[in-house]
Symmetry: C2
Subunit: 107 residues, 2 copies
DNA sequence: CTAATATGCAACCTGGAGGTTGCTTAAGAT
DNA sequence: ATCTTAAGCAACCTCCAGGTTGCATATTAG
């Protein structure tokens, strides 16, 4: 658990941006998309979108597969499982703290 | 859902840093801590820790209560619920995409 | 073959994140 | 009354995230 902490912050950071959240929302629908496709419907440049995709790719949320002249990006849910576990861990700690407080007050 | 998207990125971003993750891990244990307490056991300056706490506070993960000459920070799990919901939403989309693919292949 | 499309690469700009130091003020401890 | 500890404020520094433009290259379409 403690060993994994160093690897989770980058995943959170990758999600800490509206544009990237929107990309994730689009790609988790299942259909792989090319960079150009992802750029249409965004106010940003293709290069800007590309950079965001590379950030997501660097933490494994997304994977790129070259297909002819276009590179298609597809979603990978695995890194998200990791941070979900972390959030559950935090919630659990908190709940336990609350129970301890409660039993302390009751006695 | 779509309306909330704009408010989740900052929460993810607040967690996208090792130091802040460590602070969260400490505070979710239930015991409120002063800035000085949180600074001991870190290699950073008190002011650096303060800045990180303000970031967490700005998204509601943490709340500060003045207690005499010290300001004690306590954890608040509520914003984390929001991003958990988002992660569940993404997973659900993904699972549905997989089922669609599966039934498409099977027919 | 040529034109159009999709991407890659690199330079560049700007603002803000993350950190430090120095000084001031408030509150406890002696 | 004085010393010490906790915290706030502000200036400053460095580096990188996020974005742009311009040009080069690979693929596909006509």
């Amino acid at each position: 658990m403690a060993a994994k902490r160093q690897t989770r912050a980058p995943v959170f950071a990758a999600l800490g941006n509206e544009t990237r959240l929107a990309l994730v929302a689009k790609l988790c629908g299942g259909r792989p998309c090319s960079i150009s496709q992802l750029t249409r419907g965004s106010k940003l440049t293709r290069q800007a979108i590309t950079k965001h995709l590379r950030v997501l790719e660097s933490v494994g949320i997304v994977r790129s597969v070259r297909r002819g002249r276009e590179s298609r990006f597809e979603f990978d849910p695995q890194p998200l499982e990791g941070i979900k576990q972390y959030l559950d861990f935090v919630s659990e700690q908190w709940d336990q703290a609350l129970s301890r407080l409660k039993s302390f007050v009751e006695e």
